[in-house]
């Protein structure tokens, strides 16, 4: 359940952002989550609801933007899609892949009132 730790980290970023902007409350939080990141989205929603109780972000809705996984394939010398770590290059079958997108776990925006 490291999603609880992630939710606590999110809440901190959200509350800091809300306070910096003199907000009375947070209505929504936008997250960017990579398909290859170590986040279980359903668990994160559950934990976020739990940790935001009594905070500025209580009741805020979570909008999750998913970034697809992409990797640089060394043998092909090009970028290829990567659904999960351990998968082979869809073009040449090699595992010599360097992830270039899809491991994000970011709070991108909040909606405050």
């Amino acid at each position: 359940m490291h999603e609880m730790s992630l939710a606590e980290g999110m809440l901190q970023l959200v509350e800091d952002g809300a306070r910096r902007n003199g907000a009375a409350g947070v209505k929504a939080v936008w997250l960017e989550i990579g398909a290859l990141s170590q986040v279980e989205v359903d668990a994160l929603r559950f934990c976020f609801d739990a940790v935001t109780r009594g905070s500025l972000a209580e009741g805020a809705r979570l909008e999750i933007v998913t970034k697809a996984g992409r990797a640089w394939c060394m043998p092909c010398g090009t970028q290829v899609p990567l659904a999960q770590r351990g998968d082979a290059c869809p073009q040449c079958g090699s595992h010599q892949l360097q992830v270039v997108q899809g491991d994000e776990m970011r709070v991108t925006e909040i909606e405050v009132v």
Partner: protein, 345 residues
């Protein structure tokens, strides 16, 4: 998977379960997801109604139903109903509900783990300044981490000083085992937590104060999932896989093997009695982490220990050399400044 909308659960799936996460793709290529539940097997041939909320600032090409206001149709012909919320109301202007207080969107653009990573960076600097070589040992429970550490510390006796930070949910049994070797050890009990984080290690470092130029071994909570995400400030993650486990664990838990720089295959003395394909395990590990270094060891018999101990000694020597180079550079800079002051005087 929905036959109509093509959506599917992304990471977790439970056979026979109808709850799934539904992903929308907007015109600009971004997607957002929210969970919903299907009743019986309806095959999505219906209008697929569910509630969600989203912004209207980015163009994603749908039209509103003038009758209900909340219903709208996406470019692909699907209908949705949702509340627009204040921001969308503000964005749409008076057409929806004039007079409501407008909310604002504020850019944050920060990693969720930013705080942990900042503390980890401070830990790493603190260790570097003292020439300490720190390793984060990760594995599933029962891989033999603590026995490996005990044997390692005993074998290094007289060659290297080692200190240990032990992470477990409960008890100080592991730290007690380490302290029995004479090495300093601090136990962190994570309580309900499933991993060590950088702040726990920072607090443990305050208590432990490992010696300059020593080896610091951090034994993480036995868990092949959560510790992968949390940088503690270590030089390397070392993943331990014992031959009593399945050789396909690198494929089942790719995040952890991807995060590691060294794989120790432990309990090799048991290979004659178990069905474990070492070559396959190594091949699987290199699928998720190309180039990962691999060593085969038995903490019980000491087989393979020379290579492991030599790796540790090299790591400590490099950490000391970096510290000395830093100190030397600082000395030169001070001498330069003093010379400049002397010229000025």
């Amino acid at each position: 998977m929905c036959v109509t909308c093509g959506c599917g659960s992304d990471q977790n799936s439970v056979e026979g379960e109808s709850m799934h996460s539904h992903e929308h793709r907007h015109a600009d290529g971004t997607t957002h997801a929210h969970p919903h539940e299907h009743g019986q097997d309806q095959g999505h041939e219906h209008g697929h109604e569910h509630e969600h909320e989203h912004e209207h600032e980015d163009a994603h090409g749908h039209t509103h139903d003038a009758e209900s206001g909340q219903w709208h149709q996406h470019g692909d012909g699907r209908w949705h109903r949702h509340d627009h919320g204040d921001a969308a109301t503000a964005a749409l202007g008076a057409a929806h509900a004039p007079g409501l207080a407008a909310s604002r969107r504020v850019q944050i653009e920060q990693d969720i783990l930013a705080k942990n990573d900042a503390i980890a960076a401070a830990n790493r600097q603190r260790l570097a300044d003292r020439g300490i070589f720190a390793l984060n040992l990760v594995s599933s429970p029962g891989s033999g981490k603590t026995t490996l550490l005990v044997k390692t510390i005993e074998a290094l006796h007289g060659r290297l000083q080692a200190a240990v930070i032990e992470g477990d949910q409960q008890t100080s049994r592991d730290a007690d085992r380490i302290r029995a070797t004479g090495a300093p050890a601090i136990q962190i009990n994570t309580g309900k937590g499933c991993h060590l984080d950088a702040d726990m290690v920072r607090r443990a470092l305050d208590q432990l104060d490992p010696a300059e130029g020593s080896l610091l071994l951090v034994e993480n909570v036995g868990n092949l999932v959560c510790p992968a995400a949390f940088d503690l400030g270590e030089a390397h993650k070392v993943v331990i896989l014992s031959v009593t486990e399945g050789e396909d664990k690198p494929l089942k838990y790719p995040d952890m093997f991807h995060a590691a720089d060294l794989l120790l295959i432990n309990k090799t003395d048991l290979l004659p009695y178990v069905d474990f394909d070492v070559d396959a395990a190594i091949a699987y590990a290199r699928r998720v982490r190309p180039g990962i270094e691999v060593m085969r060891v038995s903490a019980t018999t000491g087989d393979g220990f020379e290579a492991w101990l030599a790796w540790l000694v090299r790591g400590v020597a490099a950490a000391r050399a970096r510290r000395d180079a830093g100190v030397e550079a600082l000395r030169r800079r001070v001498a330069e400044l003093e010379a400049a002051l002397g010229r000025g005087a």
